[in-house]
């Protein structure tokens, strides 16, 4: 009987999520129609373009890896009641670190350097979140506020690095960018004709590992308890600082790592185009849709990767600004929250 209720609850929640996403898509379609677009073209670009058009399918997997990696970090921190709004900044610092390692540790042999670049990115993200973590754990400083400030600082810092230490030698073109990673420093495709890189199975593997480490161990209960009530956690003897530190630092490292896979698996160079993205926010949405579950976030990430590409394509084909995608995401997020509320209300004790 209890298992049945749990299953039903999950089903209900998922149904609401689906409805919320449908609502967001509907809103986007309405905007497209109002701007004079053709419904058929809009729908086909939304649903079919991501797989049909060149580069679309590669983009899906790139974004899947990005959202999943960052989303797992956000979800983990959320379990403990901590919001990692700074994922965007950590992502950027991770990307900068890839090139810092590439440039300054170039004397290392190739396989070591390759791994060092990836680890360096994770380390960068970890260091960037270390300050908010310490401030939160030691001084109780609100991590949301500090991470938001650090996001802005990250953009300026990354620009500074791009214009100086990691700048590509030949460019003075005023739009600074780094060198382009040569082929042996890129993440290769598994099969050359299919645009899926090794990053994809690696990310899925990481998701499974985190699932086993987090969801299937007492850590899950500890984190959830900390997230729900510090009093209960203290009473249960859980070390709150330790849980908070572990979750936050992991979240930062994951965001930095996402930067490495994004750069080495897709973009191959760092330029200012990466500065003004909103991937951090979408990662939060994925974490919420995936109900903070390490595997659920994966499903949500794949879906949102597909959806954002389709929505951008739809906006492009209707000559509507791609900013409509932000509005769609916001409406979806709202719908998801509403769905969660309705589910909880039904099954509230």
């Amino acid at each position: 009987m209890r298992a049945n209720t749990q299953g039903l609850r999950w089903l209900r929640a998922t149904a609401y999520n689906v409805l919320a996403i449908g609502l967001g898509i509907l809103a986007g379609l309405l905007v497209v129609m109002y701007a004079g677009g053709n419904l058929g073209v809009a729908l086909s670009s939304l649903f079919l373009n991501p797989i049909e058009l060149a580069g679309g399918s590669k983009q899906i997997f790139v974004r899947f890896v990005l959202f999943y990696t960052m989303g797992m970090g956000v979800g983990l921190a959320l379990k403990a009641g901590l919001w990692n709004i700074g994922a965007q900044g950590q992502l950027l610092i991770g990307m900068v670190m890839v090139f810092v390692v590439y440039g300054f540790l170039a004397f290392l042999p190739w396989p070591v350097l390759y791994v060092a670049m990836i680890l360096g990115a994770a380390l960068g993200g970890l260091l960037w979140i270390a300050v908010p973590t310490i401030l939160r754990v030691k001084f109780g400083a609100n991590e949301i506020v500090v991470t938001i400030l650090l996001n802005v600082v990250a953009i300026n810092f990354a620009f500074f690095m791009l214009s100086g230490p990691i700048k590509s030698a030949g460019t003075a073109l005023g739009f600074p960018h780094s060198v382009e990673l040569p082929a042996k420093f890129q993440i290769p495709s598994i099969v050359s004709s299919v645009p899926i890189t090794y990053a994809v199975p690696a990310t899925i593997a990481m998701g499974i590992i985190l699932y086993l480490l987090v969801e299937r161990t007492p850590f899950r209960v500890r984190a959830n308890t900390v997230g729900e009530s510090h009093e209960t956690a203290k009473y249960a003897g859980i070390s709150i600082p330790r849980v908070m530190t572990v979750t936050m630092l992991t979240a930062g490292a994951l965001a930095g790592l996402a930067g490495a896979t994004y750069l080495m698996g897709y973009r191959y160079e760092l330029d200012i185009g990466s500065f003004s993205t909103n991937y951090g926010l979408v990662a939060i949405i994925c974490a919420l849709v995936g109900r903070k579950h390490m595997l659920g976030i994966g499903i949500a990430s794949f879906f949102f990767a597909y959806m954002t590409i389709g929505a951008e394509s739809m906006a492009l084909s209707a000559n509507v600004t791609t900013y409509v995608v932000f509005a769609m995401e916001g409406i979806m997020m709202f719908g998801i929250l509403l769905g969660n509320y309705l589910t909880e209300r039904k099954y509230a004790v």
Binding site: R12, S44, A54, A169
Partner: protein
């Protein structure tokens, strides 16, 4: 309790079924209106050979992609990539309106991708257009130079128009390169004449040749006509083309620090600088300039502070490029947009004193007719005209010669382009 639970389950199941049905309907509708992408047509025919029972199956596969040779501009499909949006009344506005005007005249198909901050971002819509069979992609900005060349290499049949670019590594890259120095010089000359405080500010975007050519031209013009030694403040800002508020603050600071003319080099900077100028009191008179669009024509309310506009004509080069493409005569094509070619003109602000306007226009016609040639050689005393304080480019004796047949430019600025891929042997 059992009854309500059963009802709950039923409602849920019904809801899910309804949702799935709706999604299926939507998907079916989507499939009924397929997007126009590359189609592979396979013809299979079976032939009986000889008297035996052997069969020969031949499969003919033809891939139909987009452009068969076209003879009319109206049949073309054009995509344009903008770094910002047309709300800047400047670079993006000019480009958008130029291509839109052509679209209205000829009926070509146009798609616009906005807010693409770099080449990698531009690649996404560009590849999409390539799959949809588009003929021309216009990359509106020097930051897309590498991407324009790479894209051209991948899609030899698509004309890759690159604006503010000087390098073509493939014959299907159409370069429209920009030299704002003449326009800057005329504006600077007028500024030197009209200023009372002999204090000038410049607010600029990235350190790219077209922008600092405009800045240097302005400074050289000021020095040409200013009766007293000028004080010059030149600021290049990070993210400048988009940082409207930063530009407005910088320009306001310049005015507070005594400048009465501020030169602005385009995009969002124009928005900020002109806003700062308009916020100044009407006396003492201050001036600001803008680039790329004729502000007198589109925003006459700005006339009271407008020193002048460097008006850049993109309609002509775009039309020329499309025409050449339509007549199959477009390889290694280029247009130089500068004062001598008549594609850049300075429109003096209507509020300027008449003698200053006249002098400026006279100087402009000198440059157009070749009587005055702008160059930035250092003076004999060793002090260059250039006040651009950047570690990247030296301003004395800057030369840049762009080969008409494609390939890397030569001159002592050529090193700026060493990051681009090598020339291909594509015909």
């Amino acid at each position: 309790m059992y009854g309500t639970k059963r009802k709950g389950i039923t409602t849920l199941v019904i809801a899910l079924i309804v949702i799935i049905l709706i999604l299926l309907a939507v998907a079916a509708y989507a499939f009924a209106y397929p997007s126009t992408s590359t189609k592979t047509v396979t013809n299979t025919s079976t032939k009986t050979v000889g008297t035996g029972t052997g069969t020969v199956t031949s499969t003919v596969t033809t891939t139909v992609t987009g452009s068969a040779p076209v003879t009319s501009i109206g049949a073309l499909k054009v995509g344009i990539i903008l770094p910002l949006t047309p709300t800047d009344n400047s670079w993006n506005y000019n480009a958008y309106n130029a291509i839109y005007k052509i679209k209205n005249q000829t009926g070509l198909t146009l798609q616009v991708a906005e807010n693409k901050a770099s080449g990698t971002d531009a690649d996404v819509p560009a590849q999409q257009w390539a799959s949809l069979g588009y003929n021309v992609v216009i990359f509106m900005g020097g930051q897309y130079q590498a991407e324009a060349n790479t894209f051209a290499g991948q899609h030899p049949k698509i004309m890759s128009v690159c604006v503010d670019c000087t390098v073509a590594n493939y014959s299907n890259v159409y370069r429209i390169w920009l030299d704002l120095s003449g326009g800057g010089f005329v504006l600077g000359a007028m500024a030197g004449m009209v200023s009372h405080t002999h204090n000038f500010g410049l607010v600029g975007g990235g350190d790219i040749p077209s922008i600092w050519e405009g800045h240097e031209g302005f400074i050289a013009g000021v020095m040409y006509t200013s009766p007293a030694t000028p004080t010059i403040t030149n600021t290049f800002e990070a993210f400048a083309w988009a940082d409207v508020q930063g530009a407005e603050t910088t320009a306001t600071n310049d005015y507070t620090n005594g400048a009465d003319v501020v030169f602005s080099s385009g995009d969002g900077i124009d928005v900020g600088v002109l806003g700062a100028a308009l916020a100044q009191p009407s006396t003492p008179q201050v001036w600001a300039s803008n680039v790329y669009t004729n502000l007198t024509a589109i925003l006459p309310a700005d006339n009271k502070i407008l020193l002048g506009s460097i008006v850049v004509d993109y309609y002509t080069p775009f039309f020329k490029a499309l025409e050449q493409f339509a007549s199959n005569n477009w390889h290694w094509g280029y247009t130089k947009v500068d004062m001598a070619s008549g594609l850049i003109a300075v429109q003096p602000g209507p509020n300027l004193p008449a003698d200053v306007k006249a002098a400026g226009l006279a100087l402009q016609s000198d440059i157009v007719e070749g009587a005055t040639i702008i160059s930035f050689a250092s003076t004999s005393s060793g002090a260059p005209y250039c006040f651009v304080n950047s570690g990247a480019s030296s301003c004395a004796d800057n030369t840049l010669t762009v080969p008409s047949g494609g390939g890397m430019p030569t001159g002592n600025m050529a090193a700026l382009f060493s990051y681009l891929p090598p020339v291909s042997s594509l015909p």
